[in-house]
Amino acid sequence: MKAWLTQHRQALAAALAKLARQKSASLLNALVIGVALALPAGGYLLLANLQGLARGIALEPQMSVYLRTDAGNADVAALDARLMADARVASVRFVPRDQALSELKELEGAADLIAALGQNPLPDAYVVRGRDAGALDALAAEARGWPGVAQVQLDAAWSRRLGALAGIARIALVLLAALLAAAMIAVTFNTIRLQILVQREEIDVSRLLGATDAFIRRPFFYLGALQGATGGAIALAIVKASVIALNRGVAELAATYGSGFQLAFFGLADSASALAFSVCLGWVGAYLSVSIYLHEMPQ
């Protein structure tokens, strides 16, 4: 156990010494990895932020049922009963035309417009929240045929579109991440291969004198993992800097909507897993590189 720890400490020290000896090359490598990882990480962050924003606006599908202006009380009562009884409906809110008008008046510039009209142009309306988007589709189609109903507007459509777009974006991000992860493994593979060739004599002599494959591999694993870690840290720094830069513009835009929305950076767990992912990729690249070398070479 003690010998094992000694060996690991020595391997880590050797890897650190190698990185320190080739500062500029190590830094450039880490930068390549960092930039490559920053793309999917940044994309993921944007998507997570947008989804959070969309969720705040409308989570549940919603439809508005506008009544004819000449609808009688009997029609309204029948409609009321029908909506209340429907199993697909989560909640119903009645918005009388007078209330709708006063809500409209509060909007900037609308008051003048309404005054010019002279009379209330708005109909009575129901705002219906459905249990799920699919259920409201069918209900909307039925409601269009009900007596007293002038128009049915399904508000679920845009939220579903947003959801679908987010789904596409997520798939695109996964593909991008997979491609760049492969590229990162290749970068590490080559860096480690170069390092192996530099140390070829030491490796060959060590094997002749009784070093196990595990002993030979160990410092390169640390080297790959360290490179992955620095690359991951650079990626996080790039994303963080981008968030700070973007947030200036975002704050301005959000203010025009009366919102204080800001892009949020990764939490601790997300940052840690991004870093861990990067370390793993470095390790895999190193593993492939050393294993292939050790297999190519006679013992």
Binding site: K2, A3, W4, L5, T6, Q7, Q10, E201, E202, D204, V205, S206, R207, L208, L209, G210, A211, T212, D213, F215, P298, Q299
Partner: protein
């Protein structure tokens, strides 16, 4: 301790390096293997640490058929053998001390114990004062002695030296062989391959001669 029986070695390409060699080397024995260059001395020595495997016959080390050893077992066999190569295979990017310490790292020796062993090995080959030198700064004979120190630092049961006196002047060559004989005297089984039969005979030990891959007089 080391036994070759009916060992042949044919390299890819058809070169027949060894023909049916049978040789028994007892525990603690010293054997000089002589012969002209290309006679198969190196090939014979390479079979023991499984740098090469025999094409036919068996090589036993402590009763173990090393030609059949799996890949993973080879490093453990080699740690128990001290190898001195014709071209020394020293690492010129580190000090004399670090060259000798290399095999100790494989087994994760604590630094203090490792340093003690390195100094003891350097002392035995007369290089204790040169531990911080670079191998390049050493003479040919000193480099060969450094290689011997590295071979014995793990206290191996057997020492195999392939042409340790090649490229050395007579005095340096004699010194190197004296050191090897001294290790043998403390119980290390030793095989020394050399083309210089006259020098080998001066020690009055067992000498066998290889010719075109076959043991003479066998």
């Amino acid at each position: 301790m080391i036994s070759f029986s009916g060992v042949s070695k044919r390299y890819p390409g058809g070169l027949q390096a060894l023909r049916e060699v049978s040789l028994e080397i007892g525990d603690g024995e010293l054997v000089f293997v002589t012969g002209h260059s290309g006679a198969g001395k190196s090939s014979l020595l390479k079979l023991v640490p499984v740098i090469e495997r025999p094409s036919a016959g068996t090589v036993l080390v402590n009763g173990q058929n090393v030609g059949a050893l799996g890949r993973a077992a080879i490093p453990h066999l080699r740690r128990n053998l001290g190898l001195v190569f014709q071209d020394q295979k020293l690492l010129y990017d580190r000090t004399v001390f670090d060259n000798v310490a290399l095999p100790l790292a494989f087994t994760g020796q604590p630094p203090r114990e490792a340093a003690r062993r390195v100094r003891a090995a350097l002392d035995k080959v007369g290089l204790l004062g040169r531990e911080q030198a670079n191998p390049v700064q050493l003479s040919g004979g000193e480099q060969q002695r450094l290689a011997i120190a590295r071979a014995v630092v793990n206290r191996p049961a057997a020492l195999l030296a392939d042409e340790p006196t090649a490229n050395l002047d007579a005095e340096a060559a004699a010194r190197v062989l004296e050191i090897l004989v001294a290790f043998n005297q403390v119980g290390v089984t030793t095989i020394v391959a050399t083309h210089d039969e006259a020098l080998a005979r001066r020690f009055g030990r067992r000498v066998v001669r290889l010719s075109h891959g076959a043991l003479e007089g066998a």
